[in-house]
C-alpha cells in the first residue's frame, strides 16, 4: 500500500533568495523532513512556519509636533496571527519627541513578549 505523506510547502522569507521549502510530516504530525533550503536559517524558518508562523511588523505613527511620522518595528518577529492586533496597538501609541533609534515605543506589545522600537531619530 502506498502511504501518502502530509506535505506542505512555503517560500522562505529570510533573505532575498526566497527558497521554495518543502516540509513533510510523519503520521504523528511531526516534521519529518525539510528540503529546498540553501542555509540553516531556511531550515529554522520552515520549522517555525510549519507550526507557528512569525512575521516582523513595521509601521509609522504620528508624533505630536512632527510632520514626519515615526517609523517603528517589532524588535523580533511576532506571531503572524497577531499582526492586525499589533498594528492596532502601535497606532494607538503616542510617543513624544525627542526619540532615538532603538527607543522602546511600546513594551511587550499585545503580550507577545516583543517590544516595538523606533527605527529612526526624531527631534
Amino acid at each position: 500500500m502506498l502511504v501518502l505523506q502530509d506535505l506542505t510547502s512555503c517560500v522562505c522569507i529570510c533573505c532575498p533568495l526566497g527558497c521554495q521549502l518543502e516540509i513533510s510530516f510523519d503520521e504523528l504530525g511531526e516534521i519529518e523532513e525539510i528540503s529546498g533550503q540553501k542555509c540553516k536559517r531556511g531550515e529554522a524558518y520552515a520549522r517555525q512556519e510549519a507550526v507557528d508562523p512569525l512575521r516582523m511588523v513595521t509601521a509609522v505613527l504620528f508624533v505630536p509636533g512632527s510632520l514626519e511620522p515615526l517609523s517603528v518595528k517589532t524588535a523580533q518577529a511576532i506571531p503572524k496571527q497577531a499582526m492586525a492586533e499589533v498594528l492596532q496597538a502601535i497606532s494607538a501609541c503616542e510617543p513624544r519627541v525627542p526619540i532615538r533609534l532603538g527607543d522602546v515605543v511600546l513594551a511587550d506589545v499585545c503580550g507577545t513578549g516583543v517590544d516595538v522600537i523606533a527605527t529612526k531619530d526624531l527631534d
Binding site: 512555503c10 517560500v11 522562505c12 522569507i13 529570510c14 533573505c15 532575498p16 526566497g18 527558497c19 540553501k38 512575521r55 516582523m56 513595521t58 509601521a59 509609522v60 504620528f62 505630536p64 509636533g65 512632527s66 510632520l67 514626519e68 511620522p69 517609523s71 518595528k73 503572524k80 499582526m83 498594528l87 533609534l101 527605527t119 529612526k120 531619530d121
Partner: protein, 1124 residues
C-alpha cells in the same frame, strides 16, 4: 444691504485663449470687465490640449473669418510673446507630399496662400530632405510656410490673463454660466435683489447702462452692458440663449502623443501631411519645451467635456504619423492626451454681434486656427465694444508683463543674484525641470489664484518632467499647504473633487506652518569647509565685500559693469579665438587670504543615498578630500522613506529597516565628516565635507583644455562651483510613470508612482487613497500593498503585465499572501476612468507572446487609487548633459570595471548606473566607485596642478555660453590649492582654433595606450555591468612573461565584479564568462558558475580575476538553463 449681484461693463465668459486675450484688450479701456470661468483655472478647454501651432494662414478658405483672423493673428504673435513673456518660436511649417496627387494638392494650397497673402514656397524632394533629413524616404515634396510657428498655449493664455488682471480685470473661477437674459425682458420679480433698472450704477467703475443679467450655476449674478461669449465648446449654448439664429457645435476629439525631449530635435519644422480625401493627416512637431508632439485625429463625440483618449485613437495617430517619420513608435512616449475642438455647423468662426442680440459678442465655433486667431479676434471685439461703450482709454494700462526666464535657464550670474535676493531660488524642488521653491511660491501668489496642483505644473513646469512629479509632488503639496493654508486632502489635482490624497492628519497645516517658522532665517550652510560662490562681478577690487559661503551674494547693481572688464583679464589672442562663442566676461579671482573657502576637492560625490555615502566613505579612506552633495535635508536618499525591513542582510548580517540601514552608513560618514581628519596622518588626511539641501545643476567634464571636473551646484546660501579631480555620480533612479505606459482614458487624480505614495505616507503621514489597485509587481509596489492595507486601505489586487512577478519572492509572500491580496499575472491596466479623482481602472489580459492586451478581455475595477510599480530608470540628467556615453539597455552610463564612465575621472554607481535589487549591492558598488575615484585623483593630481587657470576660465565660459545660453561666472581656478600646498600657475596656452566640439567633448577614460575590451551580454542576459574592461598594456606584458614566484602587480591581482540580470526565469542555470579574439568567432570559457534558479527580478553577480580577462579582445557573458 449687500448687493446680491455684481455690476460690470463687460462680462467675458470663458478664460481660454480667446477670453484671456479679449480681457487683455479690453483692459486698455476704462471699462470694468469680469471674466467668468467654469473651471478652476485658465485654459481648461481646448487651449490646454491642442497642437500648439501658430498657423501661417495658407489653409483657411479665402475671405472667411478663419482666413482673416488667422493671418492677422499669426503676425501678432512674435510681438505679443515679447510683450507678455511667453514662449513662441518661429520654426516654419512644411506640408509634406507623398504622391503625385499630394503634389497637386500642395500646389493648390500654394495658390490659396497667395490669395490669403501668406508667404509660401514649394520645395522639391531634395530641398525638403536638406531641411528635414529625418523625413520619410517616400516624401516627394513639400510646401514651406516660413512664418508659421509654435507656442506655449497655456503660457500665452496665462500671460494674457495675468496682464489683464494686472490692468484691472477681475477673474472668477468655478463660475459656470447657466443663463444669460436681457434685463429688458425680465419682470420686476426676476430682477436680482436690490437692482433698480433705471438708476445709475452705485459702482463708480461701471460706466455703461446694464443690459444683461448673467446667472451662474452657484446662483451668483452679474449685470453687464456687454457680454463676450468665449465659452469654447459651450459657446453655441450661450449663443442660442440670446439669438434666434441657432448655432450647433459638434465636439470633435483630437488625440495626441507627447514624446521625450530626446526626440525633440527629430524635426525642426512643424510637419503636416498633405490633406486628402481620407482626412487632414496627422502632424509631427517640435514643441517650445523641446518635446516632440504627434497628433491629432478628429473623432466626433457626444460629450463636450470628456477628454478621454482611446486605445484605438492612439494607435491610429502613431500609425498615421509613421508616414512622415517611419522611426516613430511608443518608445520615449511620455504621455498622451486629448483636446476637444468646437466644430460649428457654419464651417467658419462666428465672431461678433448676432443681428438680434446687440451687446452680445460671439467668439463661437472657435476651432483651429483659433489659437492663432485669438489675438486678432480679441482686438476686433475689444474695439467694437469700446466704440459702442464710448470708452476712454485706461490711463494706467501697462502692456508689458515681465517675467524672468525660469531659474534653470538663466546664466549663472543671474542665478547667483536670484539666490542672493531670495534664498528659495537655491532650493530646486523639481529635479527633472529644475523648478525652484521660489518660483512655486511666486506662482502661488501670482495675479491669478492657484486652485489646483496642475495650475502649478502648467505655470512653473514642475512635475512636467520625466518623473511626472513622482519625486516632487509630495513636496509641492507641502509647499501649497503652507502657502495657501489648504491641507493635501483638500488640494485638488485638477478639477474640483480631485483631491491628491485621501486623508491628511488633522494638524497637518499647523505642523507645516511651524516647521517653516523654525527654519526661516536659518539657511543651510555647507557643514564643514565652505566653498566659493560664483561671483557676480569680475572686478578684482579688494575693497568689495567677498561672497563667501553663508553670506549673501552681493548686489545685482554690480552685475551690469562686467562686460567691460574682460580685456584686462584675458590676452587678446585668446579672446579673439573665442569671439565666435560670444565670450562672456571671465574673471578669475583668488580666494581671500586666510579664508576657509575651498574651491577644489579630490572627489565630488553627487547624491547622498546608499551608493553616494559608501562612495564618499571609500574615497576618504583612500586619503581623498571629498565633497558629498545631496538634494535633501537629511542624507540617506530613498532609504528614509523605506520604513519596512529587509535591508542590510549582506552588508551588516542583520535585517534592518531603511532608516536603520542609512544610520549605520552615516555613522561611518560622521567619522570622515570632521575637519580634524584633514590633518590626521593615520588616515592620510582623507575627509568628507557635506552640502545637503543642494542641487547639482551641471557637471563640466574635463576636456583637452583642463584635466579637472567642474561641478556647479546651488543651495539656499548661494550658487557654487567646485573643481574636482574625480566625480562620482550616485544620483539614484526615478520611477517609470503612467505617461510611459500609453494607458488610454482620462488623467484623474489618484494615480501615483509607488514611491510617491510611499513618500506621502511615510514622510508626511498622508493616506494616498482608500480603494487601491497596484499595477506592476515591483518590490516597491508589493511593499506599498502591505503598507496601505496596514494603514486601513483596501488593496484590490496587484496586476502584472509579465507572466512572472518582477518583485522578490519573499515580498510576494509577506506583502501579498499574508494579507490575501491577489496577484494577477499577464494582466495590465489599459484605461483610466474618472474626470476628477480616479473612479475605475480597466484591466485586460495580455498575450504573453506579443505582449499586447487581448481584445475583449477588459474588466472594470472600481477604485480611487492606482499605484504604479512598473520599474525604475537610472537618473541620468547630469550624465546626459555631461555628454557621457549612456547604455540604451540599462539607461545608465557605460562603465569599465572601475565604474569609470566614458569621461575620464567621472564614475557612476548605485541605481544611477543600473537598477539594483538590494541596497546592499548599491552600497558595495558605491565603495568600488569611491575607491577608484580616489585613485584617479591621486594619479592625476600632478597633471591638473600644472594647468593654466585663465585658459580654464575661458573654456568654462565658452562652454556655458554655447550649451546653456548662460554667461556663467567661472569658479576661481587661480589658486588651486592642494593639500600639498602647491599652487598651480602657468602660461596661457594657445586655444585658438578650438572648435566647440573640442571644448565640450570630455577626455576619454581609456587613454595612454590602454585597451578597452568590450563586454557583451550573450544568451539569456538582458545586460551586464561593466560594459567594458580597461587593460593597461603593462598587465598584458606581465602576464605574457609571467615568471613563477615573481612579484605580481596590483592590476594582476584585481578582481572584476560583473553585475547582470537574466531575461527570463531559468531553472538550475549555468553562467559563463567567455573571452574571444578578434578575427575569430571562437569563445573560450574563462569561468563558469551555477545557481538553483535565476529570475529577472534578481540581480546576479560574478567575480573574476582581471588577469584572466586581460588576454582576450572581447568578453561575453551568458546564461543557460537546465532545459537547454
Amino acid at each position: 444691504m449687500t448687493k446680491a449681484y455684481t455690476s460690470c461693463d463687460v462680462c467675458i465668459i470663458g478664460a481660454g485663449i480667446a477670453g484671456a486675450f479679449v480681457a487683455r484688450e479690453l483692459s486698455r479701456f476704462d471699462l470694468k470687465s469680469v471674466v467668468l470661468e467654469a473651471g478652476n483655472d485658465i485654459a481648461c478647454g481646448a487651449t490646454r490640449a491642442n497642437s500648439a501651432i501658430v498657423h501661417a494662414g495658407f489653409d483657411p478658405k479665402p475671405n472667411t473669418n478663419k482666413a482673416r483672423f488667422n493671418v492677422a493673428g499669426a503676425k501678432m504673435y512674435p510681438a505679443l510673446a515679447q510683450e507678455l513673456s511667453f514662449s513662441y518660436q518661429n520654426n516654419g511649417s512644411l506640408v509634406v507630399a507623398f504622391s503625385e496627387e499630394d503634389l497637386e494638392i500642395i500646389n493648390s494650397l500654394a495658390q490659396r496662400a497667395q490669395e490669403n497673402h501668406v508667404e509660401v514656397r514649394v520645395l522639391n524632394q531634395e530641398e525638403l530632405r536638406s531641411l528635414e533629413p529625418n523625413v520619410s524616404a517616400d516624401a516627394c515634396g513639400a510646401l514651406l510656410a516660413p512664418t508659421a510657428g509654435i507656442c506655449d498655449p497655456y503660457g500665452a493664455c496665462l500671460a494674457a490673463a495675468e496682464n489683464a488682471a494686472e490692468n484691472g480685470v477681475a477673474f472668477s473661477f468655478n463660475s459656470r454660466v447657466e443663463k444669460i437674459e436681457p434685463l429688458s425682458d425680465l419682470s420686476k420679480t426676476d430682477l436680482p435683489e436690490g437692482f433698480l433698472p433705471n438708476a445709475a450704477s452705485e459702482d463708480d467703475d461701471v460706466h455703461c447702462t446694464p443690459k444683461w443679467l448673467i446667472t451662474c450655476e452657484d446662483e451668483s449674478q452679474y449685470v453687464s452692458a456687454f457680454v463676450v461669449n468665449a465659452a469654447g465648446v459651450h459657446s453655441d449654448e450661450l449663443h442660442n440663449q440670446v439669438s434666434a439664429t441657432k448655432l450647433s457645435i459638434t465636439p470633435r476629439r483630437g488625440e495626441y502623443c507627447l514624446y521625450d525631449t530626446t526626440l525633440g530635435t527629430t524635426f525642426k519644422h512643424t510637419m503636416f501631411q498633405a490633406p486628402s480625401k481620407n482626412g487632414k493627416g496627422v502632424l509631427i512637431t517640435p514643441t517650445v519645451h523641446g518635446n516632440l508632439l504627434v497628433g491629432p485625429n478628429a473623432v466626433p463625440q457626444d460629450h463636450k467635456d470628456s477628454l478621454n483618449t482611446s486605445i484605438s485613437g492612439l494607435r491610429t495617430i502613431i500609425h498615421a504619423a509613421q508616414k512622415t517619420w517611419p522611426g516613430l513608435g511608443t518608445r520615449d512616449m511620455i504621455t498622451n492626451f486629448a483636446g476637444v475642438r468646437s466644430t460649428g455647423n457654419t464651417g467658419d468662426f462666428e465672431i461678433g454681434e448676432p443681428s438680434d442680440a446687440p451687446g452680445f459678442y460671439d467668439i463661437a465655433c472657435f476651432e483651429s486656427p483659433g489659437l492663432t486667431s485669438a489675438p486678432a479676434v480679441a482686438l476686433h471685439i475689444a474695439q467694437e465694444i469700446a466704440q459702442a461703450a464710448k470708452a476712454a482709454p485706461n490711463k494706467r494700462f501697462n502692456p508689458i508683463r515681465k517675467r524672468d526666464h525660469r531659474f534653470i535657464h538663466l546664466p549663472n550670474k543671474l542665478r547667483a543674484q536670484k539666490v542672493a535676493q531670495d534664498a528659495n531660488y537655491g532650493r530646486v524642488v523639481c529635479r527633472c525641470n529644475g523648478t525652484t521653491e521660489a518660483e512655486i511660491i511666486e506662482a502661488l501668489h501670482g495675479p491669478l489664484p492657484v486652485l489646483c496642483l496642475d495650475a502649478i505644473k502648467w505655470r512653473t513646469g514642475a512635475m512636467m518632467g520625466r518623473c511626472h512629479g513622482g519625486f516632487c509632488s509630495p513636496e509641492i503639496a507641502r509647499i501649497m499647504a503652507r502657502e495657501l493654508g489648504i491641507s493635501p486632502d483638500k488640494i485638488d489635482k485638477r478639477t474640483p473633487d480631485s483631491s491628491i490624497v485621501a486623508t491628511a492628519r488633522p494638524d497637518y497645516l499647523d505642523l507645516v506652518a511651524s516647521a517653516n517658522a523654525s527654519h526661516s532665517g536659518e539657511a543651510p550652510v555647507p557643514e564643514a569647509n565652505q566653498i566659493s560662490s560664483i561671483k557676480d562681478s569680475g572686478k578684482d577690487d579688494e575693497g568689495k565685500s567677498r561672497a563667501t559661503s553663508g553670506a549673501s551674494l552681493s548686489a545685482s547693481s554690480e552685475g551690469s559693469s562686467c562686460d567691460s572688464d574682460i580685456v584686462s583679464v584675458v590676452p587678446a589672442q585668446a579672446k579673439r579665438s573665442f569671439d565666435f562663442l560670444q565670450l562672456p566676461n571671465t574673471p578669475v579671482e583668488p580666494n581671500p587670504e586666510g579664508s576657509a573657502v575651498k574651491d577644489c576637492y579630490d572627489v565630488v560625490v553627487v547624491g547622498g543615498g546608499a551608493a553616494g555615502i559608501a562612495a564618499a566613505n571609500a574615497a576618504a579612506a583612500q586619503g581623498s578630500s571629498v565633497l558629498l552633495i545631496d538634494r535633501e535635508a537629511k542624507l540617506g536618499g530613498i532609504l528614509k522613506q523605506c520604513v519596512h525591513n529587509g535591508f542590510g542582510l549582506h552588508r551588516f548580517k542583520e535585517e534592518l529597516t531603511g532608516p536603520e540601514y542609512a544610520k549605520k552608513e552615516l555613522q561611518d560618514l560622521s567619522f570622515w565628516n570632521n575637519p580634524a581628519r584633514a590633518l590626521d596622518a593615520s588616515t592620510q588626511g582623507g575627509y568628507v565635507d557635506i552640502c545637503h539641501d543642494s542641487a547639482v545643476l551641471r557637471i563640466y567634464p574635463n576636456n583637452k583644455f583642463h584635466h579637472d571636473q567642474w561641478v556647479i551646484f546651488t543651495n539656499k546660501t548661494g550658487l557654487y562651483s567646485v573643481s574636482a579631480l574625480s566625480v562620482v555620480l550616485a544620483t539614484g533612479s526615478r520611477e517609470r510613470s503612467i505617461g510611459a505606459l500609453n494607458v488610454a482614458g482620462s488623467r484623474p487624480a489618484g494615480v501615483f508612482s509607488a514611491g510617491s505614495a510611499q513618500n506621502f505616507m511615510n514622510l508626511q503621514g498622508c493616506l494616498p487613497g482608500k480603494r487601491v489597485v497596484i499595477l506592476g509587481s515591483g518590490d516597491i509596489g508589493l511593499i506599498m500593498a502591505r503598507r496601505m492595507v496596514s494603514q486601513g486601505a483596501e488593496v484590490l489586487g496587484v496586476y502584472e503585465l509579465m507572466p512572472e512577478p518582477s518583485g522578490l519572492r519573499r515580498n510576494i509572500v509577506q506583502c501579498l499572501d499574508d494579507f490575501n491580496i491577489p496577484l494577477h499575472l499577464s494582466k495590465t491596466v489599459v484605461r483610466l476612468e474618472g474626470e476628477g479623482r480616479l473612479e475605475a481602472v480597466h484591466v485586460a489580459s495580455v498575450d504573453p507572446k506579443g505582449m499586447v492586451p487581448v481584445p475583449g478581455s477588459e474588466e472594470r475595477i472600481e477604485c480611487d487609487t492606482l499605484l504604479l510599480s512598473v520599474g525604475l530608470l537610472p537618473e541620468n540628467e547630469l550624465a546626459h548633459r555631461a555628454l557621457l556615453e549612456l547604455s540604451p539597455v540599462t539607461g545608465g552610463a557605460v562603465v569599465d570595471q572601475n565604474l569609470e564612465t566614458s569621461a575620464s575621472g567621472i564614475f557612476a554607481c548605485g541605481n544611477a548606473l543600473h537598477i539594483h535589487d538590494l541596497v546592499d549591492h548599491a552600497s558595495d558598488e558605491g565603495e568600488i566607485a569611491g575607491r577608484a575615484a580616489a585613485l584617479h585623483a591621486k594619479r592625476n593630481f600632478a597633471s591638473v596642478s600644472g594647468e593654466t587657470p585663465a585658459v580654464k576660465a575661458e573654456v568654462l565660459a565658452a562652454v556655458h555660453t554655447s550649451n546653456t545660453a548662460a554667461t556663467t561666472k567661472p569658479h576661481k581656478t587661480q589658486t588651486c590649492m592642494s593639500k600639498a600646498g602647491t599652487t598651480c600657475s602657468g602660461e596661457l596656452s594657445d586655444v585658438s582654433g578650438a572648435s566647440l566640439k573640442d571644448i565640450v567633448t570630455p577626455l576619454p577614460s581609456v587613454a595612454n595606450g590602454a585597451l578597452s575590451l568590450e563586454v557583451t551580454p550573450g544568451d539569456n542576459l538582458r545586460y551586464c555591468v561593466p560594459q567594458k574592461i580597461t587593460v593597461i598594456p603593462q598587465l598584458r606584458e606581465e602576464l605574457a612573461s609571467a615568471i613563477p614566484g615573481a612579484q605580481v602587480s596590483q592590476e594582476a591581482q584585481d578582481v572584476v565584479k560583473f553585475s547582470f540580470r537574466v531575461t527570463r526565469r531559468l531553472e538550475k542555470p549555468r553562467f559563463f564568462i567567455q573571452g574571444g579574439m578578434n578575427g575569430s568567432d571562437k569563445l573560450e570559457t574563462i569561468k563558469s558558475s551555477k545557481a538553483l534558479i535565476a529570475v529577472p527580478a534578481e540581480m546576479l553577480q560574478i567575480k573574476v580575476k582581471l588577469a584572466d580577462l586581460a588576454p582576450y579582445d572581447y568578453i561575453c557573458l551568458s546564461a543557460r538553463g537546465e532545459e537547454e
